[in-house]
Symmetry: C2
């Protein structure tokens, strides 16, 4: 079977809920997910997983305990395991995540925004 082509813009139209990651690929034990952000997420960290955020649209503000950085469309940031962070977006922002299949979006913080098993878009 020939692998299929995935269109990021088309997949983004399928996302209606903020902070709920949707799967677009799985490879080498890693997940590739899309998510739309609006407002403030919870402070959290991941014990065993590094996490890459690639901004597809808008601007992501990634807060760390000591400072914050803006990540714009066409830019990415890698948050290493163990580093506390809080994604924030004043206006809607769309990102692609690269991270291990084992990850949970809220890390060790838990709470109502936890999505243990993301669905495929």
């Amino acid at each position: 079977m020939t692998p299929s082509v995935v269109d990021l813009s088309e997949k983004l139209t399928r996302i209606s809920k903020h902070w709920t990651p949707g799967m677009v690929a799985e490879l080498n034990g890693q997940h590739v997910k899309l998510v739309k952000l609006l407002g403030n997420f919870v402070w959290h960290s991941h014990e065993h997983e590094d996490e890459m955020f690639l901004v597809l649209d808008g601007t992501l503000r990634m807060e760390f305990r000591d400072r914050a950085v803006n990540v714009k469309k066409g830019q990415f940031i890698v948050v290493p395991r163990g580093v506390e962070h809080r994604p924030v977006s004043e206006r809607e922002c769309a990102i692609m995540l690269f991270e291990p299949a084992s990850i949970v979006n809220t890390g060790t913080a838990g709470g109502k925004r936890t999505v243990a098993q993301p669905e495929w878009l």
Copy 2:
């Protein structure tokens, strides 16, 4: 130390040679690389690694033994381990690769285009 923001367009300006991947991130045993394509690569496959190609600019034509697909800007394709493929691009095309650190660009085919240890951009 706060993680730094990486700008894909800026990194692409540092690539002068086609078919030579440059590193932009490493996480969870995976590499994220940028590469510019022009012309035909070699037919090859990877025994143990799935490979994700996200097109940042231009159009990638991914040939398989039974057919070929066009992957345009903003689209990606995952080539599973063991599947023979040949990346082709009539005009220059820029892509981002997401794949295990263990991968060699020419897979089991080898040859003069082999880059065993990509450099950081």
